[in-house]
Amino acid sequence: MVPVLRMEGVTRSYRTGAGEVRALDGVDLALWPGEFVVLLGPSGSGKSTLLNLLGGLDAPTTGGIWYRDHDLAHGDDASLTRYRREHVGFVFQFFNLLPSLTAEENVALVTEIARAPLAPRDALALVGLAERASHFPSQLSGGEQQRVAIARAVAKRPDVLLCDEPTGSLDAQTGRLVLEAIDRVNRELRAVTAVITHNAAIAALGDRVLRMSSGRIVDEHRNAVRASAGTLAW
């Protein structure tokens, strides 16, 4: 079997007024087809940086990143844009819905530029929001907004689904619904899924749990059984 995403010796440094910050410091990683990976780690440990690199939002300072046989480390803006457009679904901590578009339109925003997308309604149905299709973000609760964001991320049938603290702004109840939606998408669409969280309990959902600290992956363990979101203790 070949990994979907592969990182080798990746570092990412930021130049700031106070000197150089090394957000990632030599990361090797492979993500396998259909795998659900949970990223844990203290604030500032480099989780978001890692996810951004996997999603083609950013390029490493040194090291290599490949999506199948595409080189993501040296891609120009156009090729990275194409990679994101065709293969990646994002879910952000702050939802990032367009307030001027309804739930369905927010999903359509992505399906319009995708190759073989789900119908926006079906994508919303996947996260249990079919009846709220014509609501604007301001008319939805935080959890509902995040589920719309998930529908938007999965509507293109991505090969890679990346979620940065998808439940970070939500309470336990809604957080569970959101995780359920991600879990379901991972199972039904077989997308490689990476989820960042501060909540160790969520780790039980994944096939594999990576723990980061100071820009490195310091611990890795595999769950024998994946828990289901409904049964999570928050």
């Binding site: 457009r85 952000f92 001027s100 578009l101 359509a108």
Partner: protein
């Protein structure tokens, strides 16, 4: 993309007020551009076509009298393509229904063969029948001012005899597009008109059988006007030639050409002001939108929308504003253009003067709109394109404020305002500049009115104080003055001798008049710029300051004066002083000095009369029948005409100026306050939660705009005064001068109007603070 377009539409609706403000300013710019540029085009086109169709001449000359045979000699001059020698005389007219006398210019016209030059275009009726002295074609302006129709009669004293001229037609000529009496400040169609009569009949009636006293010539292609002027001049000198001149010195042509040139300038810079303000408003509105939607932009990029697609999305926001403003502006501009051309039709008479929304005009408007869109969208679109998609993953960084050294001493609220201003120095400065420009426009608009009031006062109350001025048909002796003194009600008569001269200093030459006056004249005073009388020197001449400027001479220098017409005697005289007069270029000297220079005298070419007010009606009646007068000018009537024109043209332009200035101030303040409101809603809501009153909160919101407005007011006043000074210099031509005056009431009114619009828009935004949904604002993350 469809969904992205939908988002655009909704953003436009959500920011409707700001979008509308920017679109309105765009619309004003387009309206002014289309209206004024179109009017300029219309005038230029009308001039071009009329001159070509009616074969407007290139060189002109008048003389005392020459035999017809000289026409052939003139035709043989190198560079002359066509000649038209004719009779033209100035007479006093008695128009039915007009108590006072009017002045007229009778021009001979060929009725049996087509005119080679300066053709009369008939608007109604027909040309006079051959050799019928009793028939005339009246100029359109004159006919309209009196409601003359074919069949009506006008009395004219020609060659000492009173004629009843039957108007058989109404006409126009390229020579009299701007029909203004010689030496007048403004056209007065009630008191001055042109009448065309059969050439031979006019020659016979005025005692010029077989002779001519006026000539027009067309240049052959490639001929040099100066050379032809010199040759014609030399040729006509023995016949009392008063100096040939080219189109540049032709009064109607000069006024028209100056007006067209001025129009072109105004049609450029005035819209440019609006477009600059509009581009700024678009940039601010769009910049705000981009700042607010930073996370959305990042998200779009993360989903795989390209840089170009996202930048284009925001650029189309600017395009939408510009398109809406453009369409509205074109509609308004068409109306403005039609209105302006209609106003012009009263002063400039063409067979056709029509505003047209043609391809060229549309192209100019489109180019201007494109410039606004690019200028307005460039900054924001570039920022959008440069935004790293990874930013979408991060919450927005709070704005960077600077502490500033002076600030700690100020109260916290003032510190907030100061930092808000300092955080966007460009936007703050542009806001100040925009409001200042709006105010300056207003100052300039009011300035023209003030200037013309001052001019009216200076010319007709300070300098000229006669009731009636007359011009004699021929230079006359003192008995002519005695005859005038015997007219009913006349209490004072002052004679003058005005001789056409060529005055030269080195290679600089002007054609003008030398006026012989008396030191004790009361009715025409020679004043300097402070209104003080300039003493008439025993030796030497006084020069119009504008003439001295044109000749580059100062008091003490000498100029060469050559009398044109008659003897052509010449002499060198010293410039003894300068007179700040308002029209034309003249020289003055004691009348005896002029007599001596001419080698004959005493002679008078005209006189000024003062009369009893009660006897004016009688005086007017007698003047209509007095033989030997070529023209009559009535001060009271001139002032009334001047004032009517002032009131009519300025009512409209003042309304437009005030409207524009209000819109600019309102738009800029409104936009700035809305941006501040949306940026700082959370901050302000926090203050409300902390216990600040609504008024205090609104004060913090609007403080920034208040500072901008208050800073703009003195700047706008200074800019307005500078612009007015610039106009005063630019518009001070050799034909007339416009004084520079900026009154405190003009400045005050302009400031008041600006302040009022700023306060109105501030109040409108401040009102929103009242309606703050405190919980909603605090809940929102941004």
């Amino acid at each position: 993309m469809r969904t992205l377009r939908r988002a655009l539409r909704r953003d436009l609706v959500r920011m409707a007020a700001q979008v509308a403000t920017a679109a309105l300013v765009v619309a004003c710019g387009v309206a002014v551009l289309a209206g004024m540029f179109g009017t300029w085009q219309a005038l230029a086109r009308a001039q071009r076509e009329f001159y070509a169709d009616a074969r407007f001449a290139d060189v002109f000359a008048s003389l005392t009298r020459a035999p017809r045979a000289v026409e052939a000699t003139l035709a043989a001059v190198d560079g002359v393509a066509a000649v038209r020698a004719r009779v033209a005389v100035d007479v006093v007219l008695d128009v039915p229904g007009l108590a006072e006398p009017a002045s007229g210019r009778l021009v001979g016209v060929r009725v049996d063969a087509p005119e080679p030059l300066n053709r009369v275009v008939l608007r109604a009726g027909r040309l006079p029948a051959p050799r019928r002295a009793g028939e005339a074609v009246a100029s359109e302006a004159f006919a309209q001012a009196h409601g003359l129709r074919p069949g009506d009669a006008v009395g004219a004293v020609i060659g000492g005899r009173l004629w009843a001229l039957v108007v058989v037609g109404i006409g126009l000529s390229p020579e009299f597009v701007y029909e203004i009496a010689p030496g007048a400040l403004v056209p007065d169609a009630r008191h001055f008109g042109v009448l065309w009569m059969d050439e031979d009949a006019l020659a016979a009636a005025s005692g010029r059988d077989g002779a001519f006293n006026d000539v027009a010539l067309a240049l052959a292609p490639g001929a040099r006007a100066e050379q032809v002027v010199a040759d014609v001049d030399a040729l006509l000198a023995p016949y009392g030639g008063r100096g040939a001149y080219g189109r540049d010195d032709h009064v109607s042509h000069r006024y028209l050409t100056d007006e067209i040139a001025q129009n072109r300038v105004t049609a450029t810079w005035l819209p440019a002001v609006f477009f600059a303000v509009a581009a700024f408003l678009v940039a601010v509105t769009l910049g705000r939108l981009v700042a607010m939607q930073r996370l959305q932009i990042g998200a779009l990029r993360a989903f795989g929308y390209t840089r170009g697609e996202v930048a284009a999305h925001y650029a189309s926001f600017a395009l939408a504003i510009v398109a809406v403003g453009g369409v509205a502006g074109l509609a308004a501009g068409t109306g403005l253009g039609a209105l302006l051309t209609r106003l012009y039709r009263d002063f400039y008479r063409f067979p056709e003067l029509a505003f047209r929304l043609d391809a060229e005009l549309l192209a100019v408007v489109a180019a201007a709109l494109a410039a606004v869109a690019v200028a307005g969208a460039a900054g924001a679109s570039a920022r959008v394109a440069a935004l790293a998609p990874a930013d979408a993953m991060r919450p927005p960084t709070p704005p960077v404020y600077r502490a500033g050294r002076l600030l700690p001493r100020l109260p916290a609220s003032a510190r907030m305002v100061a930092r808000a201003l300092a955080r966007r120095p460009f936007a703050s400065a542009a806001g100040v500049a925009g409001i200042a420009v709006g105010l300056a426009l207003l100052v300039v608009g009011f300035y023209f009115r003030d200037a013309l009031e001052v001019l009216l006062h200076a010319q007709f109350e300070m300098a000229r104080r006669e009731d009636v001025a007359v011009v004699f048909r021929e230079p006359s002796g003192p008995q002519a003055l005695h005859a005038l003194a015997r007219l009913p009600g006349v209490t004072r008569v002052e004679g003058e001798r005005a001789e056409p001269v060529r005055v030269a200093a080195g290679h600089r030459v002007r054609r003008t008049v030398l006026v012989g006056v008396a030191p004790d004249d009361e009715l025409a005073r020679l004043l300097d710029r402070h209104g003080r009388a300039v003493p008439l020197p025993a030796q030497g001449v006084l020069l119009s300051a504008k003439l001295a400027e044109g000749l580059y001479v100062r008091p003490g220098a000498a100029v060469d004066v050559e009398l044109l017409g008659g003897t052509r005697r010449a002499g060198r005289v010293v410039v003894a002083g300068l007179v700040d007069d308002w029209t034309g270029l003249a020289l003055w000297a004691p009348r005896e000095v002029v007599d001596r220079l001419a080698g004959e005298g005493p002679r008078f070419t005209g006189a000024r009369l003062r009369a009893d007010r009660d006897a004016l009606a009688d005086l007017y009646r007698s003047l209509k029948e007095t033989p030997g007068l070529a023209a009559v000018a009535l001060r009271e009537q001139t002032v009334a005409t001047f004032r009517a024109i002032l009131d009519r043209s300025f009512a409209l332009s003042a309304a437009i100026d005030v409207g524009f200035a209000c819109l600019i101030a309102f738009g800029l303040v409104y936009n700035g306050a809305r941006v501040a409101l949306s940026e700082r809603a959370a901050e302000l809501a926090t203050l409300r939660v902390l216990g600040f009153t609504r008024a205090e909160t609104a004060g913090l919101l609007l403080g920034e705009q208040a500072v901008i407005t208050l800073a703009a007011i003195p700047l706008g006043m200074a800019l307005g005064a500078a612009l007015a000074a610039w106009f005063a210099t630019r518009l001070s031509t050799e034909l007339y001068r416009i004084p520079f005056v900026v009154t405190s009431s003009t400045l005050g009114l302009a400031a008041l109007v600006t302040l009022a619009s700023a306060v109105a828009s501030g109040a409108l935004v401040g009102w929103r603070v009242r309606a703050f949904d405190l919980i909603g604002v605090l809940k929102a993350r941004e």
